[in-house]
Protein backbone atom coordinates (compact mmCIF):
# COMPACT_ATOMS: atom_id res chain seq x y z
CA UNK A 1 0.00 0.00 0.00
CA UNK A 2 1.23 3.49 -0.77
CA UNK A 3 1.77 6.16 1.89
CA UNK A 4 -1.06 8.49 2.60
CA UNK A 5 -0.98 11.85 0.88
CA UNK A 6 -0.41 14.50 3.55
CA UNK A 7 -2.15 17.88 3.82
CA UNK A 8 1.24 19.63 3.48
CA UNK A 9 1.92 17.90 0.18
CA UNK A 10 -1.51 18.83 -1.11
CA UNK A 11 -0.98 22.49 -0.12
CA UNK A 12 2.42 22.56 -1.80
CA UNK A 13 1.16 21.09 -5.05
CA UNK A 14 -1.87 23.42 -5.07
CA UNK A 15 0.46 26.43 -4.83
CA UNK A 16 2.70 25.10 -7.58
CA UNK A 17 -0.21 24.29 -9.90
CA UNK A 18 -1.71 27.72 -9.31
CA UNK A 19 1.58 29.45 -10.09
CA UNK A 20 2.11 27.39 -13.25
CA UNK A 21 -1.47 27.80 -14.39
CA UNK A 22 -1.43 31.58 -14.05
CA UNK A 23 1.95 31.80 -15.81
CA UNK A 24 0.50 29.94 -18.80
CA UNK A 25 -2.80 31.83 -18.93
CA UNK A 26 -4.80 29.08 -17.20
CA UNK A 27 -6.70 29.27 -13.90
CA UNK A 28 -7.43 26.85 -11.10
CA UNK A 29 -11.01 26.51 -9.87
CA UNK A 30 -11.63 29.22 -7.22
CA UNK A 31 -13.29 26.56 -5.01
CA UNK A 32 -10.05 25.86 -3.14
CA UNK A 33 -11.46 23.08 -0.95
CA UNK A 34 -12.62 21.16 -4.01
CA UNK A 35 -9.28 21.80 -5.71
CA UNK A 36 -7.55 20.24 -2.70
CA UNK A 37 -9.70 17.11 -3.04
CA UNK A 38 -8.80 16.84 -6.72
CA UNK A 39 -5.09 17.40 -6.02
CA UNK A 40 -5.23 14.71 -3.33
CA UNK A 41 -6.63 12.37 -5.99
CA UNK A 42 -3.93 13.39 -8.46
CA UNK A 43 -1.22 12.67 -5.90
CA UNK A 44 -2.80 9.34 -5.00
CA UNK A 45 -2.73 8.41 -8.70
CA UNK A 46 0.87 9.58 -9.02
CA UNK A 47 1.84 7.21 -6.19
CA UNK A 48 -0.21 4.35 -7.57
CA UNK A 49 0.68 4.57 -11.24
CA UNK A 50 3.77 6.78 -11.38
CA UNK A 51 1.94 9.61 -13.17
CA UNK A 52 -0.77 12.06 -12.09
CA UNK A 53 -3.71 10.70 -14.06
CA UNK A 54 -7.06 12.54 -13.92
CA UNK A 55 -8.66 11.76 -10.54
CA UNK A 56 -12.12 11.58 -12.12
CA UNK A 57 -11.27 9.00 -14.77
CA UNK A 58 -10.43 5.33 -14.58
CA UNK A 59 -6.75 4.67 -15.30
CA UNK A 60 -5.60 1.25 -16.32
CA UNK A 61 -2.10 1.76 -14.97
CA UNK A 62 -0.31 1.55 -18.33
CA UNK A 63 1.36 4.87 -19.10
CA UNK A 64 0.96 4.74 -22.88
CA UNK A 65 -2.74 3.89 -22.60
CA UNK A 66 -3.39 6.58 -19.99
CA UNK A 67 -1.19 9.25 -21.65
CA UNK A 68 -4.15 11.35 -22.80
CA UNK A 69 -5.58 11.64 -19.27
CA UNK A 70 -2.39 12.59 -17.45
CA UNK A 71 -3.13 15.99 -15.92
CA UNK A 72 -3.30 18.43 -17.67
CA UNK A 73 -5.25 16.11 -19.95
CA UNK A 74 -5.65 16.43 -23.71
CA UNK A 75 -9.32 17.29 -23.26
CA UNK A 76 -8.80 20.26 -20.95
CA UNK A 77 -8.56 23.00 -23.56
CA UNK A 78 -11.59 21.95 -25.65
CA UNK A 79 -13.59 21.54 -22.42
CA UNK A 80 -12.50 24.99 -21.18
CA UNK A 81 -13.64 26.47 -24.48
CA UNK A 82 -16.98 24.67 -24.50
CA UNK A 83 -17.93 24.38 -20.82
CA UNK A 84 -15.71 26.86 -18.97
CA UNK A 85 -14.01 24.07 -17.03
CA UNK A 86 -12.07 20.89 -17.64
CA UNK A 87 -13.70 17.51 -16.99
CA UNK A 88 -12.81 17.26 -13.30
CA UNK A 89 -13.14 21.09 -12.98
CA UNK A 90 -9.60 21.58 -11.63
CA UNK A 91 -9.11 24.22 -14.33
CA UNK A 92 -11.64 26.89 -15.25
CA UNK A 93 -11.74 29.89 -17.58
CA UNK A 94 -11.06 33.50 -16.58
CA UNK A 95 -14.79 34.18 -17.02
CA UNK A 96 -15.57 31.59 -14.36
CA UNK A 97 -12.99 33.09 -11.99
CA UNK A 98 -14.55 36.54 -12.58
CA UNK A 99 -18.00 35.14 -11.79
CA UNK A 100 -19.31 35.85 -15.30
CA UNK A 101 -19.80 32.19 -16.16
CA UNK A 102 -20.98 29.27 -14.03
CA UNK A 103 -19.78 25.74 -14.39
CA UNK A 104 -22.24 22.92 -14.81
CA UNK A 105 -21.52 19.27 -15.34
CA UNK A 106 -18.80 18.75 -17.94
CA UNK A 107 -19.66 15.68 -20.01
CA UNK A 108 -16.94 13.15 -20.79
CA UNK A 109 -15.47 13.65 -24.27
CA UNK A 110 -12.83 10.94 -24.04
CA UNK A 111 -13.87 7.77 -25.87
CA UNK A 112 -14.47 4.92 -23.37
CA UNK A 113 -11.15 3.21 -22.63
CA UNK A 114 -9.18 5.95 -24.39
CA UNK A 115 -8.46 6.90 -27.99
CA UNK A 116 -7.81 4.14 -30.48
CA UNK A 117 -4.44 3.92 -32.21
CA UNK A 118 -5.98 4.58 -35.61
CA UNK A 119 -7.30 7.92 -34.30
CA UNK A 120 -3.73 9.16 -33.80
CA UNK A 121 -2.99 12.04 -36.11
CA UNK A 122 -0.28 11.65 -38.70
CA UNK A 123 2.00 14.57 -39.52
CA UNK A 124 0.68 16.62 -42.42
CA UNK A 125 2.46 16.35 -45.76
CA UNK A 126 3.98 19.46 -47.16
CA UNK A 127 5.29 20.00 -50.61
CA UNK A 128 8.85 21.19 -50.35
CA UNK A 129 10.82 20.75 -47.18
CA UNK A 130 10.97 22.67 -43.93
CA UNK A 131 14.31 23.61 -42.41
CA UNK A 132 13.08 22.14 -39.08
CA UNK A 133 10.42 19.65 -38.02
CA UNK A 134 7.40 21.15 -36.22
CA UNK A 135 6.32 19.58 -32.94
CA UNK A 136 2.87 20.07 -31.40
CA UNK A 137 1.93 19.83 -27.73
CA UNK A 138 -1.08 17.50 -27.59
CA UNK A 139 -2.28 19.24 -24.42
CA UNK A 140 -2.38 22.89 -25.45
CA UNK A 141 -1.49 22.98 -29.14
CA UNK A 142 1.77 24.92 -28.72
CA UNK A 143 3.95 24.53 -31.81
CA UNK A 144 7.70 24.76 -32.07
CA UNK A 145 9.98 24.32 -35.07
CA UNK A 146 13.24 22.70 -33.97
CA UNK A 147 14.92 19.33 -33.96
CA UNK A 148 13.45 18.18 -30.64
CA UNK A 149 10.42 19.29 -28.64
CA UNK A 150 11.19 21.09 -25.35
CA UNK A 151 11.61 19.13 -22.09
CA UNK A 152 8.51 20.83 -20.73
CA UNK A 153 5.89 22.75 -22.69
CA UNK A 154 6.45 26.45 -21.88
CA UNK A 155 2.70 27.11 -22.03
CA UNK A 156 1.01 24.24 -20.22
CA UNK A 157 3.92 22.44 -18.51
CA UNK A 158 3.18 19.11 -20.22
CA UNK A 159 6.24 16.88 -20.53
CA UNK A 160 8.20 16.22 -23.73
CA UNK A 161 6.55 12.85 -24.35
CA UNK A 162 3.21 14.61 -24.90
CA UNK A 163 4.48 16.28 -28.07
CA UNK A 164 3.71 14.85 -31.49
CA UNK A 165 5.30 15.55 -34.83
CA UNK A 166 3.02 18.06 -36.55
CA UNK A 167 4.88 18.87 -39.77
Amino acid sequence: MTDRVTDEEVEKVCLRLDREAEAGGYHLNPDTEFVKDLVRGLLANERRYGYPACPCRLSIGVKEADADIVCPCEYRDPDLAEYGACYCTLYVTGAVVAGEQTVGRVPERRPPGGPTKSAAKRPAHLTGSLPYPVHRCRVCGYLCARDEPPEICPICRAKKDRFERFL
Binding site: R40, G41, P55, R57, R105
Partner: protein, 92 residues
Amino acid sequence: MDLIHVDGKKKGQILLYALSTCGWCAKTKDLLNTLGVEYDYLFVDQLPKDEMEKVYTEIIHRYNPMGSFPTLVINGKTIVGYQEDEIREALV
Protein backbone atom coordinates in the same frame (compact mmCIF):
# COMPACT_ATOMS: atom_id res chain seq x y z
CA MET B 1 -16.65 -7.93 -6.52
CA ASP B 2 -16.95 -6.48 -3.03
CA LEU B 3 -19.75 -4.00 -2.81
CA ILE B 4 -19.61 -1.79 0.25
CA HIS B 5 -22.98 -1.58 1.92
CA VAL B 6 -24.31 1.57 3.58
CA ASP B 7 -27.40 1.23 5.77
CA GLY B 8 -30.31 3.63 5.60
CA LYS B 9 -33.87 4.15 4.43
CA LYS B 10 -34.88 1.55 1.87
CA LYS B 11 -35.58 3.18 -1.47
CA GLY B 12 -34.96 0.11 -3.57
CA GLN B 13 -31.79 -0.99 -5.31
CA ILE B 14 -29.16 1.77 -5.35
CA LEU B 15 -25.69 1.09 -6.68
CA LEU B 16 -22.93 3.67 -7.07
CA TYR B 17 -19.93 2.99 -9.31
CA ALA B 18 -17.27 5.42 -8.13
CA LEU B 19 -13.55 6.19 -8.13
CA SER B 20 -11.77 6.62 -4.80
CA THR B 21 -9.84 9.66 -6.13
CA CYS B 22 -12.75 11.52 -7.72
CA GLY B 23 -14.23 14.64 -6.09
CA TRP B 24 -17.56 14.35 -7.93
CA CYS B 25 -17.91 10.73 -6.83
CA ALA B 26 -17.28 11.89 -3.25
CA LYS B 27 -19.99 14.56 -3.60
CA THR B 28 -22.43 11.94 -4.89
CA LYS B 29 -21.63 9.65 -1.96
CA ASP B 30 -22.03 12.55 0.48
CA LEU B 31 -25.43 13.36 -1.02
CA LEU B 32 -26.61 9.75 -0.63
CA ASN B 33 -25.40 9.84 2.98
CA THR B 34 -27.19 13.14 3.60
CA LEU B 35 -30.39 11.70 2.15
CA GLY B 36 -29.91 8.73 4.47
CA VAL B 37 -30.76 6.04 1.93
CA GLU B 38 -29.54 2.47 1.86
CA TYR B 39 -27.08 1.88 -0.96
CA ASP B 40 -24.06 -0.06 -2.13
CA TYR B 41 -20.97 1.39 -3.71
CA LEU B 42 -17.87 0.18 -5.43
CA PHE B 43 -14.53 1.92 -5.94
CA VAL B 44 -13.75 0.59 -9.40
CA ASP B 45 -10.17 1.91 -9.35
CA GLN B 46 -9.38 -0.25 -6.33
CA LEU B 47 -10.36 -3.54 -7.94
CA PRO B 48 -7.78 -6.04 -9.17
CA LYS B 49 -7.17 -5.57 -12.88
CA ASP B 50 -9.21 -8.49 -14.25
CA GLU B 51 -12.17 -7.63 -12.05
CA MET B 52 -11.87 -3.95 -12.96
CA GLU B 53 -12.12 -4.80 -16.65
CA LYS B 54 -15.17 -6.98 -16.04
CA VAL B 55 -16.96 -4.31 -14.03
CA TYR B 56 -16.01 -1.54 -16.47
CA THR B 57 -17.38 -3.55 -19.40
CA GLU B 58 -20.60 -4.11 -17.47
CA ILE B 59 -20.92 -0.38 -16.74
CA ILE B 60 -20.45 0.48 -20.43
CA HIS B 61 -22.84 -2.15 -21.72
CA ARG B 62 -25.59 -1.93 -19.12
CA TYR B 63 -25.59 1.55 -17.65
CA ASN B 64 -23.36 4.22 -19.16
CA PRO B 65 -21.81 3.85 -22.63
CA MET B 66 -19.28 6.63 -21.88
CA GLY B 67 -17.87 4.61 -18.98
CA SER B 68 -17.56 7.74 -16.84
CA PHE B 69 -17.83 8.19 -13.08
CA PRO B 70 -19.84 8.52 -10.92
CA THR B 71 -22.39 6.18 -12.48
CA LEU B 72 -25.35 5.85 -10.14
CA VAL B 73 -28.01 3.21 -10.75
CA ILE B 74 -31.28 3.75 -8.89
CA ASN B 75 -33.78 0.95 -9.48
CA GLY B 76 -32.49 0.39 -12.99
CA LYS B 77 -32.34 4.10 -13.89
CA THR B 78 -28.85 5.48 -14.54
CA ILE B 79 -27.70 8.93 -13.48
CA VAL B 80 -24.28 9.89 -14.84
CA GLY B 81 -22.25 12.49 -12.97
CA TYR B 82 -23.07 14.45 -9.85
CA GLN B 83 -26.56 15.69 -10.70
CA GLU B 84 -27.98 16.77 -7.39
CA ASP B 85 -31.51 17.59 -8.52
CA GLU B 86 -31.91 14.40 -10.53
CA ILE B 87 -30.61 12.27 -7.68
CA ARG B 88 -32.88 13.95 -5.13
CA GLU B 89 -35.85 13.54 -7.46
CA ALA B 90 -35.14 9.85 -8.01
CA LEU B 91 -35.06 9.29 -4.26
CA VAL B 92 -38.16 11.18 -3.15
